[in-house]
Amino acid sequence: MSEMTISLTRRGFCAAAAGIVVFPLEVRATDINPAQIMQASYQATRFKNVRFTAGLSLRSSKGAKQNRSLSGVAKIVDGGALARLMRFTTPADMSGVATLTFERGSSRDDLWIYLPAMRRVRKLVTANRADPWVGSDFSYGDILGHKVSDWTHKLSGTERLSGGDCWRIDSVPLTSALMRETGYGRRRSWIRKSDYSLLNCDFFSVSGQPLKSATFSDFRVLDGSNGKVQPMVMTMQSMRSGSTSTLNFKQFDIGAAVMNNEISPEALNK
C-alpha cells in the first residue's frame, strides 16, 4: 500500500475526526482510491445502536407542505447488516405506519411495511427500491443505503463547498439490475476531506438526466473516537417534480442498546 493510499484503519478515522491532516496536501487525484473514500464515508454514519426521533417535511413544487413525525431504532445486526425500523407517530393518517429495512447489499436486502389499517406486516419487493419511501422524495433505496461494493467509483475531481474541501466522486451501479432497481444510472457525491462526511449527492437517471439532489447538514460528531459523524438534516429535492423532502433528526441517541426483538418484522406492529 503506497503512502498515497488512504488508510481506513481506526487510527486514520481518529486522526480524521480530530481534524488532523492525514493526507499529503499534494495528493494527485489518480492516486486516491475513491472506493475507499466512499467506504469511509459509508462507515462514518453507521452506528452499532441508534434510537432517534425525527420530523419529515414534504413540500410540493406549489409550496403545499405535509409534516410527519416518526421515531425509530437502527442496529448493526449479525453479519454486519444495518437494520432500521421507523414508525410514524403523526399525522393521524400515518400514525402506526412502520417500515423495516435490512441493508445487506444488492438483492439480499429486505423491506417490510406495516399498515395499521391492514394489521399485517407485508414484505415488499426488494427490486422496488426505487419506490418513494412513504410518499417522500427519498426512495427505499436511499433509506436502505447504497452499499459501496455494489457500485464502481471514480474520482472526478475536488471541489470546495461551503462545508469544506471535498472529493467529488461519480458512482455507477455494477449491474444493470441494480440500475433498474434503484432507478439511478449514476450518483455524484461530494465527500468532505476532513471527516468523510457526505455533504451533497446528485442522482441521475439511467438515461443520464438529473433526478434528485440531496444535501446533508448540521453535522454532529457523536463518536469521535471512531470517526462517527451524523448529519441531523437531510434534504432531498426532486428535479422532475420540484418537490422537496427534509428529514430532520430531533434526537439521535447512540448510547442505549437496541434489542434484536425491537428491530424485527414482528416488532413492526408492537
Binding site: L58, Q66, S107, D110, T126, P132, G135
Partner: protein
C-alpha cells in the same frame, strides 16, 4: 352487540382512552367520515344512503411491559338500514416480558399474505354489509387471549377466542323463516408459527366454528325448519412471501375439514382445499401490479334432493363449492402520485361459474387532514352467482375523510 350497549361500551372505552392519555401522554386519534352511497350491499333497492362515522383509536404505553390499545366507531347508518350503530373493534391490554407477549381483550388477528383472498384467515370475522371504503374496515374484533413466544428464529403464537362473532352477509333469505343457531361450542383455538427472512412463512392450525353460516335443516318446535348454523372447521394452512428477481411471490393455501354433525341436507359439498398464488411487481412512476390465481376444491357430502337444490345452491355460492373445482383470478393495478397526495386502484376478480367483480377506488388529499374518496363497484353474474349473491348490486360512493 346491542346498539345501546355497544355505544355505551364505546363511550366508556373512549373515556378510558382519554384518562389513559393523561397518564401515558398518548393522544387518542380521531377519524371523521361522511359518505354518500348510491345503494347498500344488501340490494334492498335503497338508492341514496348518507352515512357519517366517527372512529377513534388509542395506543398507550403504561410502562415498559404494559400497553393498552383500543379502537371503535359509531355511525349514523353503517349498513344502509337507517339505523345508527357502533362497535368496539379492539380493546386489549398487552404485556411483554422476557420475550413473551400476552394480549388479552378484543382484538383483530387477520392472517394470510395473499391480496384480499386469504384462505388461512379462518378466525377473523367481517360484516360484509358495512358501507366502508377499505376492505379491512369491515372486520369485527373478538375477545381473544394471545400468547406469543420466540421459537427457532420465529414466533409461535397461541390463540384462544372465547367470543364468537359471525360473518354478517347481505340478506339473501327474504321471505324465508330462518333461525340463526349459535354454535354450542363457541370458542376457537389456533397455533401459528411465523418466521420472517428471505422467505416470510407462516404455518397455522386452527379449529373454530365456521364464521360464515350454512343454511341447514333442523328440528324447530317439532317440525323441520331452516336454520343458519356454524359447523366446526379444522384447518391447516400455510402462507409465504418472497422475492424472485423483480417479482414478489405470494402463496397461501389451506386444507379444511368440516364437522358435518351440525349440517343436514341442503349441502352437497364442503370446502376441502383453497390456494392462491400471486405475483406483484412495480414499475417506474409508482405503478404497482398484483396478479393472482385462485383454486378451490370441495368434497362431496350429498346428495341433495331435488326440492332442496335451490337452497343448496345458495350454500354452494357462499362457500365457493358450486363445482368440485373452482378456478379464479384477480388483478389489481395501483397508481400513487407524488407525496401520496393521490392514490388510485382498480381491482378485478372472476371465478369460474361465479361471476366477476370490478372495483375502482381513488382518493385525493385536499389538505393535511382532509381526503376526498371515490369508490365504484360493479358485480356481474346472475343473482345466484358468488358475487351476485354476496353483494348483489352496483355501488358508487363519494366521501370525505378527516383524520386517519
Amino acid at each position: 352487540m346491542k346498539r345501546v350497549g355497544g355505544l355505551a361500551v364505546l363511550a366508556c372505552c373512549l373515556t378510558f382512552g382519554l384518562e389513559v392519555e393523561a397518564r401515558a401522554q398518548s393522544q387518542p386519534e380521531w377519524s371523521l367520515r361522511a359518505q354518500q352511497w348510491t345503494g347498500d350491499r344488501s340490494g334492498s333497492g335503497n338508492e341514496s344512503i348518507t352515512n357519517a362515522e366517527a372512529w377513534s383509536r388509542i395506543r398507550a404505553k403504561i410502562s415498559n411491559e404494559v400497553s393498552i390499545q383500543a379502537e371503535g366507531w359509531v355511525a349514523v347508518d353503517p349498513v344502509g338500514m337507517s339505523k345508527a350503530n357502533g362497535d368496539i373493534r379492539e380493546a386489549l391490554i398487552e404485556l411483554r416480558t422476557s420475550g413473551v407477549t400476552l394480549k388479552v381483550g378484543r382484538q383483530i388477528n387477520p392472517w394470510g399474505r395473499a391480496d384480499r383472498v386469504n384462505p388461512t384467515d379462518l378466525m377473523s370475522a367481517r360484516d360484509y354489509r358495512r358501507l366502508v371504503e377499505g376492505e379491512d374496515e369491515n372486520r369485527l374484533g373478538q375477545v381473544t387471549i394471545t400468547v406469543a413466544i420466540p421459537l427457532a428464529g420465529g414466533e409461535l403464537s397461541g390463540f384462544w377466542v372465547p367470543e364468537f362473532r359471525q360473518n354478517r352477509l347481505p340478506s339473501n333469505y327474504d321471505g324465508l323463516a330462518i333461525r340463526s343457531v349459535t354454535p354450542l361450542q363457541r370458542d376457537s383455538f389456533a397455533l401459528r408459527y411465523e418466521r420472517f427472512g428471505g422467505v416470510d412463512l407462516a404455518v397455522t392450525v386452527a379449529q373454530a366454528p365456521d364464521r360464515t353460516p350454512w343454511l341447514s335443516l333442523m328440528p324447530i318446535n317439532g317440525r323441520t325448519g331452516l336454520a343458519l348454523q356454524h359447523p366446526r372447521v379444522r384447518m391447516i394452512g400455510v402462507d409465504l412471501a418472497t422475492n424472485v428477481g423483480d417479482f414478489g411471490v405470494r402463496f397461501e393455501s389451506a386444507l379444511y375439514s368440516h364437522d358435518r354433525v351440525a349440517l343436514s341436507g341442503l349441502i352437497d359439498r364442503v370446502p376441502r382445499l383453497a390456494a392462491v398464488i400471486g405475483l406483484d411487481r412495480s414499475f417506474p412512476g409508482q405503478w404497482h401490479f398484483i396478479a393472482q390465481g385462485i383454486l378451490r376444491t370441495s368434497r362431496s357430502v350429498g346428495p341433495v334432493s331435488w326440492n332442496q337444490q335451490l337452497a343448496a345452491r345458495r350454500n354452494a355460492n357462499i362457500h365457493g363449492t358450486w363445482d368440485h373445482s373452482v378456478f379464479g383470478a384477480t388483478l389489481a393495478v395501483r397508481k400513487t402520485f407524488a407525496g401520496d397526495r393521490m392514490q388510485t386502484e382498480i381491482t378485478g376478480a372472476m371465478l369460474s361459474g361465479g361471476g366477476a367483480f370490478l372495483q375502482a377506488r381513488g382518493s385525493v388529499k385536499l389538505s393535511e387532514q382532509l381526503r376526498l374518496q371515490l369508490l365504484g363497484e360493479h358485480y356481474s353474474g346472475s343473482a345466484d352467482s358468488y358475487f351476485g349473491q354476496l353483494k348483489p348490486n352496483r355501488l358508487l360512493m363519494i366521501g370525505l375523510r378527516a383524520g386517519y
